[in-house]
Symmetry: C2
Subunit: 131 residues, 2 copies
């Protein structure tokens, strides 16, 4: 093998390695958790609750959403610190602040608000960035 | 191949398949999200915040914990519905109510509370079951 060919192969190896190194962090990006709790106007209406659940689930179609967890209060032990007064929980993960902003402005999200906001009385949002 | 050997191999295949079928649903189990928000006694102390963060991260060693997301308020847009007044967010996933209970009673969790509860002023917990 000539010296030139050896150098060329070393360069190719280094380039391949750098692309792996570059690709790797994106998989391990700190996730932004966007957790929304909904209190329904009529908490006794399972119809309203299920309509909201379906609406929230459809938000998973927005491509920036990395993880979607749609839930209702769990039957864990009643404790003073536990708030189980909400009706529906929506938890989404994003790769970045930018992706969360794209989601906020996304037509599907805007449509969701227009079509479901009459169902809720109160909303609380917690946005947290992984450390 | 003898008939007996054929039957034996079929049995082995069926047993392997049954173990796959058995293992599979656990991966798709509806997840219980246990989300805890901590308000520090001294919100200006990054030392206290970092101590709490390290303590929360160690809870990931409890084997029932399926997913651990430790975070601080994200720099998302300020809106009336967004609560960013807390200092640390701890989000855990569990496979079941039982696993969450095991976690609550786990010596590592109890030790965490003993060693860190002097740091916080207020805690709010949301337990939600995926639907």
């Amino acid at each position: 093998m000539t010296q030139t060919r050896k150098k060329f192969l070393t360069l190719v190896s280094l380039l391949s390695l750098s692309s792996i190194v570059k690709a790797s962090p994106s998989k391990k990006k700190p996730q932004l958790a966007h957790h929304v709790f909904f209190w329904l106007k009529d908490p006794s209406s399972t119809t309203d609750r299920d309509k909201l659940i379906q609406g929230v689930k459809a938000l998973g179609r927005i491509k920036e959403v990395r993880m979607l967890h749609v839930a209702v209060p769990a039957e864990t032990e009643k404790r003073d610190v536990v708030d189980n007064s909400y009706s529906v929980s929506e938890l989404l993960f994003f790769d970045s602040l930018q992706d969360q902003k794209i989601y906020q402005d996304h037509p599907l999200h805007q449509k969701f608000i227009q079509e479901h906001s009459m169902l809720w009385d109160r909303v609380v949002v917690y946005d947290s960035m992984e450390v």
